[in-house]
């Protein structure tokens, strides 16, 4: 208490903080990065363990026998698909009915704002086929979902076959499973703006969902995909369950396509863990659903995708074993008395056996965010210095800061116009690309998608010219006070933005913080303009995205050349906009409406006259 009420000690503290501000900031930044890299080091992380009692001790015996028959069904399905030249909806309905399910279909269409060049579609349309297996003596309140995405091309046939096999098997046993066998190109009920026919049959509130992707008869390993829309993750117990059954049945299991390594104490082992974790961070930060399960997560339904991978490895696993694995997982999920809630919802996984909980990874972000607050404190003290001379009482001292801060002559004119103008640019970046695509297509020889992406980049670049125009509106132009207030506001704004983002989606917040925090901390008008401007551009959100694309490709062991990377970057932007309009992904509006304007404020400070 003496610290705050004693003016001398407080003065000493603030002077310490202002004097040592830069070294402390540098230390914080390095410590933040180091902490983050330390998260992948195995001794620092926790082993995964099953928290849910209902799934822990009650072992189930898996007896699924009909792998071969499932594959035969898959081949039949493929033949029908070829014959129809699309989705053999009628055949699926008939087959599922023959297996004793209640079958319903739901068709949906959605027109995209611009054509999706990756998937070559302008209109998302399809039919969900779902069969309901009613549990005996259950009042239709709960359900489990097993789904497989179907596309007209020749992938995922085996998953459909296995799904049908499992359905038949579950039907013949009297398990208390209520489950939907969904075969869909997207799960879209209750999505705004989507035209869909009403659902005919209902099962109950969905407790958990698994999505199966399987494109070969035998597999070498199963990959678990967790990242969902907006970086949401399912409860960690779902990952634990998958891992436990892979161990029990003896199937190789991976996460991010990376096998577990035993040698954490070697450099290679550590690098491997870092790569795995970085992949998860990048995928989570992208905010897109990385499998069909991703859309369940927003409805608070725990869901994951299981993907079969067939690589050049000696030991193969057949469909019966995968069927047994799924059966086991479902029977354990069926044992649940409550929704999965015991384990973590916020975590990172450097490997399937280890996880980093929110309590461990948040300090890494906290250290970066501290820099913003320290710089803000420094500025605040600098701004308040003249007022301090006259007043001495602690309360008055505090008020004096506010006074200097709140006095309209200093505050309002200096940062309000910049704030408004940069946000308007943000709004333009958010709306114009999609709105102006037709005009762009008329005047330039580009396709709609290119038009959208290039307009976005053009607006982004045009924003860089703003400082030369905003100064006209600023009356208190050129004062030292002016840019300090603007920088103080920008720092606090950025701190709040990044803090909120990190709470929802740690990965996104952290990645943005790594690049934006140094830019925000260092920028002043008194620096060599050309050099600093270059650094600022390199640290801007757009460039961060570009780096992420390259790093992601590098980590996936599919490095790309610079032009390829650029093309990938363009498609990532278009995908981001499409994800926003199709699923409601928040990354694009966040970047366009908030982060980019905030960066523009910093850019304004650099060119302060």
């Amino acid at each position: 208490m003496g610290l705050l009420s004693d003016p001398n000690r407080r003065k000493a503290l603030t002077s310490l903080l202002t004097r040592l501000n830069t070294p402390i900031c540098v230390v914080c930044y390095l410590a933040g990065i180091a902490w983050f890299m330390g998260l992948a080091f195995e001794p620092f992380t926790l082993r995964t363990y099953m928290s849910e009692n209902a799934m822990g001790s009650t072992m189930v015996e898996e007896r699924f026998p009909a792998g071969e028959r499932a594959l035969a069904t898959a081949r039949e399905f493929a033949a029908h698909k070829r014959k129809v030249g699309g989705m053999p909806v009628e055949w699926l309905v008939k087959t599922m009915q023959a297996r004793g399910l209640e079958v319903f279909t739901q068709s949906f269409t959605r027109t995209l704002p611009f054509p999706d060049e990756n998937k070559e579609r302008y209109m998302v349309r399809g039919t969900n086929i779902y069969g309901i297996l009613r549990a005996p003596r259950a009042p239709r309140t709960e359900a489990l979902v097993l789904s497989a995405p179907c596309s007209p091309d020749n992938s995922n046939n085996q998953a459909v076959g296995l799904l049908l096999g499992l359905a038949q098997y579950f039907r013949s046993k009297m398990f208390y499973v209520e489950f939907d066998c969904t075969s869909l190109s997207g799960f879209f009920s209750h999505h705004s703006g989507m035209d869909y026919t009403p659902l005919q049959g209902r099962a109950g509130s969905i407790q958990a969902a698994l999505s199966l992707e399987l494109s070969s008869d035998v597999i070498t390993s199963l990959d678990l995909v967790l990242e969902g829309l907006n970086g949401q993750l399912p409860n960690l117990d779902l990952a634990n369950l998958f891992h436990a059954f892979c161990q029990k049945i003896g199937v190789l299991c991976t996460i991010q396509g990376k096998l577990q390594r035993g040698d954490w104490d070697t450099a290679e082992g550590y690098t491997h863990a870092v790569q795995t974790m970085m992949l998860m961070v990048l995928k989570q930060a992208s905010g897109r659903p990385w499998g069909d399960h991703g859309l369940f997560l927003r409805y608070h339904i725990e869901a994951a995708s299981v993907r079969g991978i067939n690589s050049f490895r000696q030991y193969k696993t057949d469909a019966t074993t995968i069927g047994r694995l799924l059966e086991g997982m479902f029977r354990k999920l069926n044992n649940l008395l409550e929704r999965l809630h015991q384990s973590y919802f916020f975590y990172l996984m450097p490997s399937l056996t280890h996880f980093v909980s929110i309590g461990y990874y948040m300090p890494a972000f906290g250290l970066l965010a501290t820099i913003l607050l320290l710089r803000a404190l420094d500025l605040w003290v600098q701004l308040g210095t003249p007022a301090q001379v006259t007043e001495d009482g602690a309360v008055l001292f505090i008020f004096s800061y506010y006074k200097s801060f709140l006095s309209p002559s200093v505050l309002v004119p200096s940062f309000k116009p910049s704030m408004v103008i940069s946000h308007l640019t943000g709004v333009a970046l958010y709306t114009l690309p999609v709105l102006s695509q037709e005009t762009a297509v008329e005047h330039f020889p580009v396709s709609e998608t290119e038009a959208v992406v290039l307009t976005a980049i053009a607006i982004y670049t045009a924003g860089l010219a703003l400082p030369h125009n905003t100064h006209r509106f600023i009356s208190g132009e050129g004062t030292e006070q002016g840019w300090r207030v603007l920088k103080l506001v920008a720092l606090l704004y950025l701190a709040v933005l990044l803090g909120c983002t990190a709470l929802i989606n740690f990965s996104l917040g952290f990645i943005l913080a790594i690049t934006l925090v140094p830019a925000a901390a260092c920028v002043t008008p008194h620096m060599p303009k050309a050099l600093t401007a270059l650094a600022m551009v390199l640290l801007s959100p757009g460039c961060t995205l570009l780096y992420c694309v390259f790093i992601f490709q590098e980590l996936q062991e599919a490095p790309v050349t610079l032009p390829e990377g650029w093309m990938l970057f363009l498609s990532v932007i278009s995908q981001g906009i499409l994800d926003h309009s199709l699923y409601g992904s928040l990354v694009y509006p966040l970047l366009a409406l908030l982060i980019y304007p905030c960066w523009l404020l910093l850019w304004n400070i650099l060119f302060w006259k």
Binding site: P136, R137, P139, R140, S172, S205, R339
Partner: protein, 611 residues
């Protein structure tokens, strides 16, 4: 000795009731003949030991009971078995207010409850599973998942709520169920949906109480007390089939008790109490039969029938053979020539009847094991005319929307339905968001009775009379907000969710028989021009699924965290600010260096002015 008297009684009642039982006269004759033959020696021995006793009992105690088993092969390949036991008690204690202490066939435990709590009508059902209307058609006795209890009290009762509370506790003991969890927060007084089924024209719904416990799980411990209420227990008659390991290895299980006053005879000069015990089971023969569609009594119940309940005046097994007039769909053995046609739920059904009171029913093996072998695939079922489903839409834990879909599958007739919704108080209904739409147009209910909830006291009650256009889906939606409960009010498994009981839809549905105006095969032409009253529409009650709604649930390890956090915030934040605000600040004299102070001391001694 007692059994002997009872035999005589059974014969007496049967012979006097034979005109009301629909069956060919030769069968009746044979039945009475065989009964007389069986009871002959018994009556003789009774006469020799206690002359006049049997006859006296028959005159003064005309209670009777009947038992019935209806088996219906469903289109989905499942088998529906419905037991009904009806006990009549010829006493009328309500009007005279006299105590009745003599019980014969009527269970004493229930009789005492009736007289003590002045119950006029009592309906209680325990159900495990949900009746799949779209696959199975309409049930004979509808019931919602979980437990349901509705009671009409006599209009002399002063403290209905007190009686109701005691009654639920007593019934909870009788049926080994959690009926004691019925309190004011889940009891409603429907104004129109639940009318008395028995005698009496009670319309004042102050004397009606209705409650459901959708979470109630029904199992053996509920079946045993239910079986004890039967006149023969589970010792003889149809009740021997009720082995709990089989009854609970099924897709649907529902048991119910209905008590109501009925007319004693057709002139209705005096009243009697009717106790109707029903048990409905649906067996899934796909799972137990390894894919083969074939069933027998033995397969279903692991028992066969060997005798009727000796106390019952009538004991019959009906098998629904409507879909199988020429025997092309399935084979039923042993075959019976006794057929009975009745209009059940608006549909004309044909039944093969097996009378258990006849010796030849059991054949040479002295046991009846009905066997049914499917020959072909059953055709499509006629869609049930009225069907409903319900679900919760929306995501997040703040608001939501309850959707109730009511299907009228009649091709050209519109009919009104009464919808009853009882929603617990912790889902706060926004009644202004109530919308009723049919065929994308607003459908204004002609009657709405809404009673808002009171927190922790009573639930929402919403009753509506909605006209369903022909061949349409009517959607009733209402939005709600989820309340945050007090932390002691959560159930032990709060993340499972909270149950909302089924909606009840009561309707007079136009009959399928009346729909079929071309059918002149069985009826004379003159009978089918105007639809007759009793066949033109029939009463149906449809229950929707119960809902499982997640409420915002705190992390229950949170109190610890909250205490820690609060203490820290109070200690650091509040303490320092309080300190700053209350302290008076004074400018402190800068302390002098030691040398100066020493010099001053010397100067004071010397009397020189201080430095």
């Amino acid at each position: 000795m007692a059994a002997v008297g009872v035999f005589a009684l059974a014969a007496l009642v049967l012979s006097c009731k034979c005109d009301s039982v629909e069956k060919p006269s030769d069968a009746t004759g044979a039945g009475t003949g065989s009964e007389a033959e069986r009871s002959g020696p018994a009556a003789a021995s009774a006469g020799s030991e206690a002359p006049g006793g049997g006859a006296g009992a028959a005159v003064s105690l005309p209670d009777s009971c009947e038992e019935e088993l209806l088996i219906r092969p469903l289109h989905s390949g499942d088998i529906y078995a419905s037991f009904q036991f009806r006990t009549l008690w010829d006493t009328d204690f309500l009007h005279q207010g006299k105590k009745v202490s003599h019980y014969r066939l009527f269970p004493k435990s229930l009789g005492q409850v009736l007289s003590k709590f002045s119950v006029r009508e009592l309906h209680i059902s325990f159900t495990q599973g949900y009746w799949r209307t779209m696959q199975w058609g309409q049930p004979i006795v509808p019931s919602p998942p979980g437990a349901e209890l509705w009671v009409w009290f006599h209009n002399t009762v002063a403290d209905v709520d007190g009686n109701w509370k005691e009654l639920t506790n007593v019934l909870s003991g009788i049926f080994c169920a959690s009926l004691n969890f019925i309190d004011s927060t889940n009891t409603v007084q429907p104004s129109a949906s639940f009318k008395p089924l028995g005698l009496g024209n009670a319309t004042d719904h102050r004397f009606l109480r209705y409650a459901t416990l959708p979470r109630e799980i029904v199992c053996t411990e509920n079946l045993t007390p239910w079986k004890k209420l039967l006149p023969c227990g589970s010792k003889a008659g149809l009740a021997v089939l009720m082995k709990s390991e089989k009854l609970f290895h099924s897709s649907f299980h529902s048991q119910a008790v209905h008590i109501r006053p009925v007319c004693k005879d057709w002139q209705c000069s005096s009243t009697a109490w009717e106790l109707r015990q029903t048990l409905n089971v649906v067996f899934d023969l796909y799972t137990s039969g390894q894919g083969k569609k074939e069933w027998s009594l033995f397969k279903m119940f692991s028992r066969t029938l060997t005798e009727a309940c000796p106390l019952a005046s009538s004991s019959k097994v009906y098998v629904d053979v409507t879909d199988n007039p020429e025997g092309e769909l399935f084979d039923l053995s042993p075959a019976t020539s006794v057929l009975n046609t009745a209009v059940v739920l608006g549909d004309r059904r044909t039944y093969s009847v097996y009378d258990l009171t006849q010796k030849e029913t059991f054949g040479q093996l002295r046991s009846l094991n009905l066997v049914l072998r499917w020959k072909g695939e059953s055709g499509d079922m006629l869609r049930p005319l009225l069907h409903a489903e319900r679900y919760v839409a929306g995501f997040g834990l703040q608001t939501g929307e309850i959707h109730t879909l009511i299907y009228n599958n009649h091709p050209y007739r519109a009919f009104p339905v009464l919808l009853l919704d009882s929603v617990p108080w912790y889902l706060r209904l926004y009644i202004h968001t109530l919308t009723v739409t049919s065929k994308t147009r607003e459908n204004k209910p002609s009657y709405i009775h809404y009673q808002p909830s009171k927190d922790r006291l009573r639930p929402h009650l919403l009753e509506m009379l909605v006209q369903l256009p022909p061949h349409s889906v009517t959607e009733v939606t209402v939005q709600f907000e989820r309340a945050l409960l007090k932390w002691t009010e959560y159930t032990p498994d709060p993340n499972h969710g909270f149950y909302v009981g089924s909606s009840v839809i009561s309707a007079l549905v136009p009959s399928v028989v009346a729909m079929d105006t071309n059918n002149t095969q069985e009826r004379p032409l003159f009978s089918s021009f105007f639809p007759t009253k009793e066949e033109s529409s029939y009463f149906v009650r449809v229950y929707t699924e119960p809902l499982l709604v997640n409420l915002p649930t705190p992390d229950f390890s949170m109190p610890y965290n909250v205490i820690c956090l609060t203490c820290t915030v109070v200690a650091v934040g509040y303490g320092s600010f309080y300190n700053l605000l209350t302290r008076t600040f004074q400018v402190e004299e800068p302390s002098q260096p030691l040398a100066k102070r020493l010099a001053n001391v010397i100067r004071r001694i010397r009397g020189v002015p201080l430095l």
